[in-house]
């Protein structure tokens, strides 16, 4: 039994910003676990980028034919044990893991915040997230540098480009052993790095990483909250000050859509 759009049942869809080309033909699945919070926002981001967002339920055994998957932010299962530690056992995670590790043409997967934590727990990405070094939940607009613009999720950016997207989490400190960190650096798998003051103590200022194949990316800050003028951060990396006008996160979603169309 498949369950339709569990968390967005009362959500009014609206026309996507772009209808050109066949971006709308690209189906991006957004997974909802119990306790997921930013699923509706990730779906909105996919639509604003021009794609078609598909709601996926953690308990299902079917990826519904999606071309890519986003595991959004939140506190799945309350994060009471370890962030992501229970979600990774969800039936749908088996499907995602199998599809994401299938060699060339493997399923593109993006984990944002709690989604990144789920991906590390599922061993699709190395390392782990521990509590912020401030010991507090931290919400702020965060400047990042795109270190690798060759992944499926970053190709619309230039390497070295800086972006501003909201950061909001409690367990955002990325840690891994020195060997793993060296490997990530050496293989160009550090995809995003914090610029300026490190917000949470993450090793080597790492904000996002990819797997060796480059199809699976995890990112702690929230690009889906910097996609719509009027509802994003007050600034963009270009230094313009605008009232919640920052849309620097949109490139993440357009990247994967264009790659999949191409």
């Amino acid at each position: 039994m498949s369950v339709e759009t569990p968390l967005i049942s009362d959500f009014q869809p609206f026309p996507s910003a772009s209808t050109e080309g066949s971006l709308a033909g690209v189906r991006v699945g957004v997974v909802t676990f119990p306790g997921t919070l930013d699923d509706r926002d990730a779906m909105r981001a996919v639509r604003l980028a021009g794609g078609t967002a598909i709601s996926l339920w953690h308990g299902d055994h079917d990826l519904r034919g999606v071309d890519a998957v986003i595991i959004p932010g939140g506190f799945s299962y309350g994060d009471y044990l370890r962030a992501g530690a229970i979600s990774r056992f969800a039936p749908l995670m088996e499907q995602i893991t199998a599809a994401a590790t299938g060699g060339p043409g493997a399923l593109p997967v993006l984990g944002i915040c709690n989604g990144f934590q789920v991906l590390t727990e599922a061993h699709l990405l190395p390392g782990s997230m521990i509590k912020n070094n401030s010991l507090h939940f931290l919400c702020r607009d965060q400047r990042l540098r795109v270190e690798n613009a060759d992944t499926l999720w970053t190709s619309d950016y230039a390497a070295g480009e800086e972006i501003v997207v909201p950061l909001k989490n409690q367990d955002g400190q990325f840690v891994a052993d020195e060997h793993t960190l060296d490997e990530l650096e050496g293989e160009g798998r550090v995809v995003f790095r914090y610029v300026g003051e490190n917000p949470n103590g993450s090793r080597r200022d790492i904000a996002g990483i990819s797997n060796a194949a480059g199809n699976v990316v995890g990112l702690m800050p929230h690009p889906e909250h910097a996609v719509e003028p009027g509802f994003g951060p007050d600034s963009s990396a270009r230094g313009e000050v605008d009232l919640r006008g920052g849309t620097d996160g949109l490139g993440i979603f357009t990247s994967v859509l264009k790659k999949l169309v191409g």
């Binding site: 119990p34 932010g73 009471y80």
Partner: protein, 756 residues
């Protein structure tokens, strides 16, 4: 263990009329206990006593405040009801915002639990108000938290600040609700009694409104969500309805413990129940737990209910029936479901892995019967529990000390205005609250159009049209201490002004009235004056109170807090894209001051900084506030202003500083013409807290139109300066220049210095 441990049945109560019961320990007074015996015609069972004790507590029954609160209903005109879909008396009021959309919102207190156990107290305060919103049939879309602590440097303050802020964040962030505003105030009057108020707002379609009643004989009653545990027993009575006293034992067991994950699942599960139309009536379990839910549902519906209490799923199997009835375990809901919908209900519970138990059914007997393993332990008329509690006409009189306080006007001034501005902006109440608000998620749901530090929080409701709402909460305990009638009107005026400053049309009011002990006639007078002032002001501004909460006994020993009526105002936007931020951005825009400045420093932040509290608060002119609001809303809608910031605590000095720091853009300001026009000195111009004022930035191309509008409405305006992006400073010409970097450092350093 047998379920039949020492059960005090109705039969047993009849057989043992002389048995002593612990009614005093449960918070009942002698006359109240006698009344229970009179109603029942016998002594109550232990379970009945538990129910009456919590439901007749001050917190649940409003027994001291009821006679005054009637004014909120009595003073509502038909015109004020125009947008009201559900008024006072339900879980929360519901307001029509157009296009078939409705908004429900309410503010509540969780003061006492938060003092005893800051993290859990504050967390469950968020949880409780959010369940009120869900039970109206709405999706919660935002929260706000007006907070008041003791002196910033008192040794106990850090414990409370850390725990309360983390608790609000821990719970609210996990629910996926943006926190869009609130207040953080420090004042030694709240030392032994911090105020933790929580506001939630939800949206729904008109047709989705749900009410809490149990109708339809034979319909089934179900309890779902978290299991019932031993936490929060007596939370409403012995904790929330008594003053703190060092001599008494710790009340920690009366504090509830929250599980935000369970609540998040409960939200989604309830919304799915509503969408599938499988519940007839629904009630959240908050204060007084199952006692409240069963008696209110039954008395608001067909009048009867039959419940088997052993069916309640427990965390702790040793709980007694009385404890089960009194427990305030969180994340629970009770619903009434037709037998035909039972299977559909169960399927939705199973999908979300929510536990449930069918407790009984609706009857038309007029009795609430609760059985324990087949034996009757409660047999009452539910109305006597839920609605017929005691009502007191508490004596009150104007405090004798008030004349002396009001005669003691503030005389101080300062000639070093630059230093004075820095002092003000780094003071505990005027400093940046980023350290607090950065611990809350303001982005989630993607509809936040404004949040802290702007004047109001703004949330988009309809993604296609941009229809949305603005919310602001305000109170000034010092003003209310000096004059509670005017203080209440000032609180409403400020919240109303804040909402209009953001560009929204004010529509409705919620309030949380925080006071000391009602048994003190002077406190009771403050309360009576506050309600009178607020009800009058609502009538004058044409905005109805839709719901709220009264929190009494906010005192430790004999010292009460300042009377603190927290007023929340809801406004509506046709399109949130038209919202106005509090800071300017564009070089060369003209800065105007709206309103008149008088020498009104009594009760001000500046006087507070100098340790002075006396005199009379600023004059309130609600007709002027109405005009100012119309000017602000029209200017925003017609694109005549790019920024607007209200003048309140800290006066013009604070407003200019905050408007400059909002986007880090400076300004050149001249105040000499203002001083001449209003007959005041420069210090007064900057620090007076005269009402009915705001600053706006106007694009050059709009100046004529803007001035014409203000002239047509006969509202005083004065061009006091210009936005200056070149010079990163607040330059008050002829008086001082403050580089924004220096101002920012002073403004943002205070909270981290004390708490980081």
């Amino acid at each position: 263990m047998s379920k039949k441990f020492n059960i005090d049945t109705v039969a047993n109560a009849e057989a043992t009329p002389g048995q002593a019961l612990p009614w005093a320990e449960l918070g009942l007074k002698q006359n109240e206990y006698d009344r229970v015996v009179e109603i029942l015609g016998r002594r109550p069972t232990g379970a009945e006593l538990a129910m009456y004790s919590v439901m007749w507590s001050e917190h649940c029954s409003y027994k001291s405040s009821k006679v005054h609160l009637r004014q909120f209903g009595d003073k509502v005109t038909d015109a004020m009801k125009e947008h009201l879909l559900v008024g006072i008396g339900e879980n929360a009021g519901v307001v029509d915002i157009g296009d078939g959309w409705a908004v429900t919102f309410k503010v509540e207190s969780h003061n006492h639990p938060s003092f005893v156990e800051p993290y859990q107290g504050a967390a469950t305060g968020v949880g409780g108000i959010v369940r009120d919103i869900i039970s109206m049939g709405a999706r919660p879309v935002a929260v706000m938290d007006p907070l008041r602590f003791g002196a910033i440097d008192h040794p106990d303050t850090a414990r409370l600040v850390h725990g309360i802020v983390a608790g609000i964040g821990g719970y609210g962030n996990s629910l996926g609700l943006p926190n869009i505003g609130g207040e953080v105030v420090f004042d030694s009057s709240y030392q032994g009694n911090p105020l933790v108020n929580a506001l939630a707002v939800g949206v729904l379609r008109h047709e989705d409104i749900r009410l809490a009643n149990a109708s339809g004989v034979g319909n089934r009653v179900v309890l779902f969500g978290a299991r019932t545990g031993g936490d929060g027993i007596g939370g409403a009575s012995v904790l929330a309805s008594e003053s703190f006293d060092d001599a008494k034992p710790s009340k920690r067991p009366a504090v509830q413990v929250g599980d935000p994950f369970a609540e998040k699942v409960l939200i989604e599960c309830c919304l799915e129940l509503f969408k599938a139309s499988v519940v007839e009536g629904i009630q959240d379990l908050g204060a007084a737990g199952i006692s409240c839910a069963t008696s209110e549902l039954a008395s608001n519906g067909d009048g009867g209910m039959h419940v088997e209490l052993t069916k309640v799923l427990l965390r702790d199997p040793t709980l007694t029936p009385g404890e089960i009835l009194m427990s305030e375990s969180q994340e629970r809901m009770m619903a009434v479901v037709t037998p035909a919908n039972a299977a559909a209900f169960e399927a939705i519970m199973d999908k979300w892995n929510v536990e449930y138990s069918w407790l009984g059914e609706v009857t038309d007997t007029g009795r609430l019967i609760i059985e324990w393993d087949g034996e009757t332990i409660v047999d009452v008329d539910p109305r006597t529990v839920a609605h017929d509690g005691p009502v007191y006409e508490r004596p009150y009189h104007r405090p004798v000390w008030l004349d002396g306080v009001q005669a003691d006007s503030f005389k101080g001034s300062s000639t070093d205005l630059r230093a004075a501005v820095l002092d003000l902006m780094s003071s505990p109440n005027m400093c940046s609250k980023d350290w607090v608000t950065n611990q809350f998620d303001r982005y989630v749901q993607g509809n936040t159009a404004l949040a802290m530090p702007d004047d109001a929080g703004v949330i988009r409701v309809d993604e296609e049209t941009g229809l949305g709402v603005a919310l602001s909460t305000d109170a000034n305990g010092r003003y209310s201490y000096l004059n509670p009638y005017e203080g209440a009107r000032l609180a409403l005026a400020e919240a109303y002004r804040n909402v209009a400053t953001s560009g929204a049309k004010p529509l409705a009011v919620t309030d949380c009235l925080n006071f000391g002990s009602p048994e003190d006639p002077e406190v009771m007078w403050q309360f009576a004056e506050t309600v009178r002032g607020l009800a009058d002001a609502c009538q004058e501004l044409g905005v109805p109170v839709t719901g709220g909460n009264v929190s009494l006994y906010n005192q430790t020993g004999g010292v009460a807090i300042h009377p603190t009526p927290v007023v929340g105002v809801l406004g509506v936007f046709d399109d949130v894209a038209r919202r106005t931020p509090s800071g300017w951005r564009e070089d060369g825009q003209a800065i105007y001051l709206l309103g008149t400045t008088r020498n009104e420093l009594d009760g001000s932040e500046w006087a507070n900084l100098r340790g002075h509290l006396g005199g009379t608060p600023p004059v309130v002119d609600l007709a002027a506030e109405k005009t100012l609001a119309a000017v602000l809303v029209n200017s925003s809608r017609d694109g005549m202003i790019d920024a607007a910031h209200d003048l309140s605590e800290g006066g013009l000095a604070a407003a200019l500083s905050e408007a400059a720091l909002r986007f880090g853009v400076g300004a050149r300001i001249g105040i000499d013409e203002l001083c001449e026009r209003d007959g005041i000195d420069a210090f007064t111009a900057l620090f007076s807290e005269s009402q009915g004022r705001a600053i706006v930035s106007v694009p050059r191309s709009e100046e004529v139109r803007f001035n014409d509008m203000c002239t047509a409405r006969n509202y005083p305006t004065l061009r006091i300066g210009v936005v200056d992006t070149e010079n990163s400073a607040l330059d008050v010409q002829g008086h001082f220049t403050l580089p924004l970097a220096e101002l920012k450092e002073a403004h943002e350093g205070t909270l981290p210095k004390h708490f980081a």
